[in-house]
């Protein structure tokens, strides 16, 4: 198993190389000249040319890519064209915010989605089943930005229960250890900061989770319906087991295997959806930052951001594959 994990981690190298190459090519071939964009429309040709030269954009593409790669290997994603600061630093301060949001959403989507799916399957054709499947349909069809706005209007503006935007109340930021506010505030025992961070996290996490939650609920329901008709479930019942043990132990353990796959894949859409959610809720994460960078033609930031997200996605899918072997003894990696 360890050998398999190491092998998969080594595979990360070609994957990330491919991602880097793709992002690099797309950005350099299909977007406007960043030097011109930076200088504005009144700049002279000579000024633009001078800037291109100082930024290295006049070199052949393969040379630029080589420089880019050697920088990445040293953990250097270059300098942001917008802010003139190191991209690595910029991303590292924002990345934890996105990860915190995405994982919170994943947690909500998984817990609620699996629970709803199991109950719907066990009580097939009941009112709960119909309502939750209609809910799932809504969850899949509602755009995140719209749902986000509705949540803000209802829970923040009308009811005043939760904050409208941001990641934490101003001035409450816990001392930074990991850049994850929830973890940092817990580590420093700062309860006020923790409460504030959680209350800020709830709405964006729910908005972001809605789509994945719906997908997970539907997937869990259909696999549970299949599993619950299996012979071994009848065996479990004939042993005299309590129905809850039959459902949550004997059936769910089998049903989870395909569900885990979906959860892993949903991580991609969560990271992608984070862009919209972060914009709606002014969440200081990587998503809104990268979108702004795209609009401003800030190459280094876009490249760095995409590579970081790709890394997380690949690692999450590795974790999913390891979980398979844990859930299903028939799966062996060698």
């Amino acid at each position: 198993m360890l050998k398999y994990i190491v092998k998969r981690l080594l595979l990360l190298i070609p994957v990330l190389f491919g991602v880097s190459l793709f992002v690099f090519l797309v950005l350099h071939l299909f977007t406007a000249d960043p030097a011109a964009m930076m200088l504005g429309q009144h700049a002279t040709k000579e000024q633009v040319e001078a800037l291109r030269e100082s930024l290295g954009f006049n070199k052949p593409l393969y040379v630029q890519f080589g420089i880019f790669l050697s920088q990445i290997l040293q953990g250097d994603f270059g300098t942001s064209l917008m802010t003139r600061s190191a991209v690595t630093d910029e991303l590292l301060t924002r990345f934890p915010a996105t990860i915190e949001l995405a994982f919170a959403a994943m947690l909500i989507a998984t817990v609620v989605g699996v629970t709803v799916g199991v109950i719907s399957a066990v009580k097939q054709y009941s009112l709960f089943d119909y309502l939750s499947m209609v809910g799932a349909l809504l969850g899949v069809s509602m755009p995140i930005f719209w749902l986000g706005l509705m949540l803000i209007i209802f829970f923040s503006v009308t009811l005043g229960w939760l904050p409208v935007s941001g990641r934490i109340a101003v001035g409450m930021e816990p001392s930074t250890i990991t850049h994850f506010y929830l973890i940092d505030s817990l580590l420093t025992g700062n309860w006020e900061a923790f409460k504030s961070a959680v209350s800020h996290l709830i709405l964006p996490a729910v908005a972001l989770a809605s789509y994945s939650m719906a997908i997970i609920a539907r997937m869990t329901r259909s696999t549970m319906l299949e599993v619950i008709r299996q012979d071994y479930i009848r065996t479990a019942r004939s042993k005299g087991l309590v129905e809850s043990v039959v459902v949550f132990k004997h059936a769910l353990r089998n049903a989870l295997i395909p569900v885990i796959t979906v959860i892993g894949l949903q991580m991609g859409s969560l990271l992608g959806g984070a862009v919209l959610t972060e914009t709606v809720f002014s969440w200081p994460g990587i998503g809104s930052f990268v979108v702004n960078a795209i609009l401003a033609g800030d190459f280094p930031v876009v490249q760095g951001g995409v590579i970081m997200v790709a890394t997380v996605f690949v690692v999450v899918n590795l974790i999913v594959d390891v979980l398979y072997a844990f859930l299903d003894p028939r799966i062996k990696y060698s």
Partner: protein, 327 residues
Amino acid sequence: MTTETLLQVKDLKTHFFLEDGVVPAVDGVSFHLNRGETLAVVGESGSGKSITATSIMRLIPNPPGKIVGGEILFNGQDLLRKTEKEMRDIRGNRISMIFQEPMTSLNPVFRVGYQISESLMIHQGLNKKDALEKSIEMLRLTGIPSPEKRVHDFPHQMSGGMRQRVMIAMALCCRPELLIADEPTTALDVTIQAQILDLMLELKEQMGTAIIMITHDLAVVAEVADRAVVMYCGKLVEESTVLELFDKPLHPYTKGLLKSIPHVNSTQEKLYMIDGMVPPLTHLPAGCAFAPRCPEAQPRCHMERPMLREISPGRRVSCWLYEGGGE
């Protein structure tokens, strides 16, 4: 053998309520089983024999199925009046069941030792360690080699015969009074079939367990059962001791089943078969359900449904041919 009655099924009716109508899968079935006895329930697919067994366990999927009438007296107590909790204490403990498909009847994600232990832990209050010890002992009883190693296997690491042995170990670990075996050997190779049947008989002798053997295989009946009931379209058509059943079958359906067994030294070119098909349970004929296929059918058979009548002690048949109380 004692003749104390262990199980008495009276006028059991299990119906399935489907969109295209009510299916009377089991329709007024009555039989009894003595302590330590082996009763074979014989019939084709769809005759209601498995549903009868599942009804005794009260494991009919509801909806669409429902036990709509009758009594199932186990040690004199009606199982149909038990609460779900009382039934759970009986299942796997005093009545247990093994199934046709050993390949799919064990949960693929748990070790076989754990699956046997589970019964012991809930019914006998054993802790994990003791339950595992007992599981190893049960596996040894069922003839699995090096059980202390195999107990940690997952089902996919075992053959079909092995898995059926595990199922038997699981079913018998709490020493039940009644074992319901639903076609336990149908899915196995012939050589393994004999081994499994022998094993069941041996353990039955050791533990004094009564067995209801559900089968369509008359060879199995001849080998293991004391008495047999024959089912057709959800109804009992004949009840008899096994010796009498083979010696002198009464119901034309039973005769047909017996004739269908191929003989090695037979001169017949073609195998015998009962003409026609089992009618759909939603559209049963007005008279005897077997009449359309019966070679001895009389006009009356198509009009009126015969009742199950006692011909001689312990011998019952539902057929107009025996209306006079014997031939």
